[in-house]
Assembly symmetry: C2
Homo-oligomer: 200 residues x 2
Amino acid sequence: MSPRKSVAETAATRSRIIDSALTLASTDGLEGLTIGRLATDLEMSKAGVIGHFGSKEALQLAVLAAAVERFRLRVPARAVGARPGTERLTRAFDEWIDYMTEVEGHGGCFLTSVASEFDGRPGPVRDAVLDALASWSAYVTAELSTAIEARELPPRTDVEQLAFELNGVALAANQSIQLHRDPQAPTRARRAVARLLIAP
Amino acid sequence: MSPRKSVAETAATRSRIIDSALTLASTDGLEGLTIGRLATDLEMSKAGVIGHFGSKEALQLAVLAAAVERFRLRVPARAVGARPGTERLTRAFDEWIDYMTEVEGHGGCFLTSVASEFDGRPGPVRDAVLDALASWSAYVTAELSTAIEARELPPRTDVEQLAFELNGVALAANQSIQLHRDPQAPTRARRAVARLLIAP
DNA sequence: GCTAATTGCGAACGGTCGTTAGGTTAAAGT
DNA sequence: ACTTTAACCTAACGACCGTTCGCAATTAGC
């Protein structure tokens, strides 16, 4: 089933490609990502790179899927230890903000960048972005509902409105980190989240 | 000074190019904008298009400058009638939100999209984006300071923090409009702005 | 050991990219 | 009327794009 490398090594190559593609796409966008540059960076041929995916769009979808899984492993998975409701949500946004600052290079949330890049381009990539964002949104609203049931938030809280504002805080943090490289951004974002989630 | 068209007509051509470029760049980004497609849309030759600017980067900067001026004419200029402080700020964000929904096509704020596109690409375009955002940020913080002096906001208000959160609301509105096409986005955004600017 | 399967490469494809050179046309300056 | 100037064109440049073909190489299954 494999040529010069074992099956495990084949998967490793695929993973190596996606890793490098994520780095490239972080600065140039998922559309600005080119197979030629990817091949150069990996010291492979273009055919060798694209052979693992079939087309550039399939590669884009694979990169996006990898980014989504990284996000899931990094943010919601690390918040499962916290008590459901405002505590878990605070923890999740905390992890997200940390994640934004940690990413190698210039930082920022990859999914947020791609969401902005493809917001006006219909197609499978945009659909995948919408899926990922819907999943995250469902996570947030579910935790908010739990918080209301637990009386951590006022019973008449508008869940959608609060999710909207929390999302805005994350977007502002992303812009401050990625564009302005403001070292105070994480602190500001955490303060804003706390103000939204901790009843006054 | 002009060839087959008067000087006024020459400027009109330039303006026509920028108009079309703004439309193209709204969906494909400022980097995804290509001279060939622009020429096709305008029924001109590529040389005729780029001749007005010299290079693609110069064209990008011209498009960006045009977008910045449109924003200025549309948002801060329409708020000058309002009383300085929270009233003017509310009005400005109101206008901005309206502007996002009105834009032909899929809507959204062009400057916000470009800010995201170029946040990791150093160069003149990124610098111009930073300038525009700094100018807007200065406008917001100045009005916030005025509001504090006028006792419309608590005297110990953290101006930078509040500007950060207001910016987040605008970013959330932009994403909801452009990506999710959520018709409730303007309402949510206005509600969030009011909650931030109207003292409790 | 032989065959089958698969990875990756080299090379090429048609197409588009941004840019440039040179020529044509028409208006402006004199 | 003649020259200058500027807008716009056609044509072409080299570079790179995504994709495809056929081949070499190597491992897995038999």
